[in-house]
Symmetry: C2
Subunit: 105 residues, 2 copies
DNA sequence: AGTTACTGCAACCCTTTAGTTGCAGTAACT
DNA sequence: AGTTACTGCAACTAAAGGGTTGCAGTAACT
């Protein structure tokens, strides 16, 4: 996984409303209309957010009768978390190396 | 750590240029001016990005002579990664529980 | 003391994005 | 078959964000 696929994920997670949506979906799958009943924004706004989240691979959609339900993909979050941890550790490693060189060790 | 402190971190990580800056800082501490020499944006743009990154707690600044150097805080990334993993696992756990209930198990 | 080089602030532009309203389409249920 | 309810598309507004240029301030090296 490169950072080019990672950036949209973070961009998607960088919005409060989308977190509300994800949290609501954490309670169980739901459609845009159902979510609109619980959150203080219109269905269309939620639909846009869901599109962003789906594009980022954080949710998937499934048709159930006449409604389009969304499901949160927690595994994708964990995947992202692993990448983040790896990168953070790498930076720390490199910087401590640089520091040691600077100190002449 | 609540999501209210988490969201700005993700918002900060949701931009390509800021990743370039973080990557550059991963090679060693640098000032906004120094970074401007390596990246295809002006110093002022970089200064704004650094302010965002600092606000999110991803970098810290330190004065060295007349320049203000920035250092990437990899540990903060790892911290964020842990939170992300925890949340993702929680969603997966809840959803599998819901699924089991729905299946009457 | 004078010059140099780095930071800080302000104003501005353009694009993106979060949000809205309104309407058309269409697939389910009765 | 008719109604209901959910989705999809379009146009529009307002605010935020990434980027720029220009200038003032100031601390450091010679």
């Amino acid at each position: 996984m490169t950072t080019s696929t990672l950036v949209p994920v973070f961009a998607a997670l960088g919005d409060e409303t989308r977190w509300s949506i994800l949290a609501a979906l954490g309670e169980g799958d739901a459609s845009a209309s159902a979510l609109a009943g619980r959150l203080p924004v219109t269905r269309q706004a939620i639909a846009k957010h869901l599109a962003v989240l789906q594009e980022a691979g954080l949710v998937e959609s499934l048709r159930v009768g006449r409604e389009l339900r969304y499901r949160v993909l927690g595994s994708q979050l964990s995947e992202t978390a692993r990448n983040l941890d790896r990168i953070g550790a790498e930076w720390d490693r490199r910087l401590s190396t640089i520091k040691q060189i600077a100190e002449g060790l």
